[in-house]
Amino acid sequence: MRIGVYICQVGSALADEAALEAVAHYAANLPQVESVRPLGSLPTIDPDALAEEIAAARLDAIVIAGDSPGFFKPAFTRAMALADADPEQVRLASFREHGGVTQDSSERAKSILACAVYGVPFPLAAVPKETRTNAATLVIGAGISGIQTALEIADAGKRVYLVERTGTIGGHMAMFDKTFPTLDCAACILTPKMVSVGQHEMIDLLTYSEVEAITGSPGAYKATVLRNARRVDEESCVACGICSDVCPVSVPSEFDAGIATRKAIYIPFPQAVPAAYLVDESACTYVQSNGKKCGACAKKCPKDCIDLDAHGDVLQIEIGNVVVATGYDVLDAHRIEQYGYGTHPNVLTALEFERLTNASGPTGGRIVLKTKRLNKRKKAEEWVFDPEGPSPRSVAIIHCVGSRDANFNAYCSRVCCMYSLKFAHLVKEKLPDATCYEFYIDMRAFGKGYDEFFQRIKAEGTFVMRGRSGTITEHDGQMIVRGEDIISDKMMEFPVDMVLLAVGLVPAARSDQLAWMLGIPRDEAGWFAEADYNADPTGTERGGVYVAGMCQAPKDIPDTVAQASAVAARVLKTIVTGKGVDSLESLSLEDIETRAKSLATV
């Protein structure tokens, strides 16, 4: 067989000439390879010219190598047909798909190319050696995916260390009011799971803690966990709340997305697990003054469980597998100036609205407008949510804020369309007389029951308009949203009282540090890279390190739970058999090539 290799020089793996040359040289020395030709970056391929080339070189098979070689496949298939060769014999060597994404991955690129030349799928050839596996598992992040993975593994009777950075488990899902498209109460699904985690014998729950270092090798990792000083004894605290009542310091509540305040000693929310208070040392007067001022909470505590002078602790644990479930952050809406977030008081982000409409939120679930109130301490007027405040008569919901946008995030955040529709439902349900407008670009109602949900929202009387609004202006205190109704080619202007921004999602803060610590790559947007896009979406480059939930890419709750359970199954497999797999890194180019060769001859 005579094989022609075409290398498309796009992206990072072959960014510099030297790397390209090395890979091309390597490819030329593979058996049966007749010709190697770089296509340059962003090539346009003329099938006719290509067909002549193929016929002249009498090629029987083609390998297209590059970041997204599938893009060029149609042109090559056509060229093969034109040259009277077998059009089926166009093989792809996708660097992006198999982890050849960084500047240092030209070895990986070579092995991917070799597999394509031998006609063997890369995941089949690149199988790392087996390792012995420790039965304990570390799960980083205790949102819905971390909780799900931890419970699945622990229910099988295996030890799980669940590390959570904040004072409670639950993550973003605990903040939500309803889930789409079923409109179930998010807390009703999540809190039983949270309680199970809190009570589980096989789960060591380490909240207010961070993984500081990970050493060792796949199957035998050692983790250093920094246990921040909670300053309240988890075991003896009964969450009576007296400490919080006497605390003089108020700061924005993270759990309420900043639309309400909490004290410096606080419990994130009443159903928090563990159900214990904690001290925010950056806000606490006592801690900040080195014990010179305040200390009121410790004096009043009836259980005597507050130790304001407590120090953090470091814990060493030995584990076999690590599950990364660190979730996401929300893009800072201030960056997108055209919508006036931070300027117009009643422009809210999605998370803020979740808390506003949540029955456990600061207004008890009443959807109200912000009202001006004098802050006596700061002696300045500020906009706050008053449960007795006026309700909005009209609400605009703007999709794709910072998503699918070359200026912010190029990717689709995947959940915004559906939660925006859910918001429209909640507005209509609570304020039947209010008008509700949705401005969308494309309606991505892709999941089970999602499109039906979209139809339902339209039937409920929400005005759903195709066309993203460009700006929000204010005339005499009335916000005006302007947009183009693309379906009828008309400009539309609506006066609205409240604007909800479906803000896109970004990788959680400090994902870069974690990626570096674990030795796993991230994609160009910063999400953790899975080992193989199609064949291994839960594993990573590193043996015994898995990704679950949003930290891998934006996904909704059902997908997150599914991925979390899938990760648990893979972890349990290694524990039950006592054997895990080593990192892909442990394989040398020769290893992969030899295995590919042996598979090809079979």
Binding site: I441, T462, G467, R468, G470, T471, G483, D485
Partner: protein, 381 residues
Amino acid sequence: MALRINPKLIDELEVYGAEDVSKCYHCGNCSAVCVHSSDPYVFPRRSMRNLQMGLEDKLKGGLEPWLCYYCGECSEQCPREAEPGETMMSLRRWLTSRYDWTGISRLFYRSWRWEVGAILLVGFLTALGFLLFGFSQGSITHYNGSNAFLPSSKIHVFDWTLAMLLLAVLLSNAARMWWYTVGRDRSVKVPMKSYITKAYLLPAHFITQMRYAKCARKTPWLTHLVLMLSYLTMLVLIMFFLSKMASGPKIDWYVHIFGYLATVGLVVGSVLFLRNRLRKSSAQYTHSHESDWLFLVLLLVVTLTGISQSILHHSGVDVAANIMYVVHLSVVVPMLALEVPFGKWSHLAYRPLAMYFADVRAEGLTRREPASVPSEGLRAA
């Protein structure tokens, strides 16, 4: 009416500067941010769509590109970097070449080599002509008087002949523009009365550029207005007061003060725009077509040669002044004869005309439509 599709249109427009049209995914952000986009002229997204679909006739009959002043906000906010602002600019270039029946405009926009070559040729011929004319009837040592090298009375006749010629070409192109955008469309009946009652719009838009002033950023409007008014002042001076302009070396303040103000305006305006384009200071200056450079460079060269001529004349160096006069004319004539009817300058006619047509056409449309049709999405709700 059946729609004819030209699938090559999007490639054709690339030569005119629209390179990123196919990136557009129709979110409508550009139309929403544009202050000029309002019914029935919604743009730039619709123009992007028509381009992607190759609806040549629709685009040829569209007035939208002329209603855009390219403030650049749409391009800055565009989530796809599809450059809607530059697309509108390219469409203006393309439309100019469509309105022009001679085909010269199309040639110029598609090849700057042809354009520069034509300018050089006309410039050379002009210089040659005026030199022959000067030596045949006057003395190079005289700028004024009976023995003048280039007497203003004769130049005046030349100016008016050229002006009439240009006007004829521009008007014939403007008539084609009217036919494409208003006349051809049988579905819109514009009453004669509208044409008359709205006629005031033509000078109003021409002189004030009030639509440009609506853009969020005011500096480009102001610079453009100063440049245009200076140009207009200079034109009036040359067409009606040429003999007074040429008198001297004593300075005739009643006329010259306007000349000086206009000169300052021209220099400041063209230098500012050149600087913006060189620095790519904001979205509308990042993509410069060859025609944009030629426009500004020619304007600056004309102004600078004019200034030199004036200085030489007023300092009494008649020989040098006469030579500079010929140089000046050999830049002015190609600029006027080629750029005004066929190049970027033609927008001085098409823009106000488009706004006038847009208003009368909109009136015709309101007569046709009994009520606005609600949107598909809104109706479903």
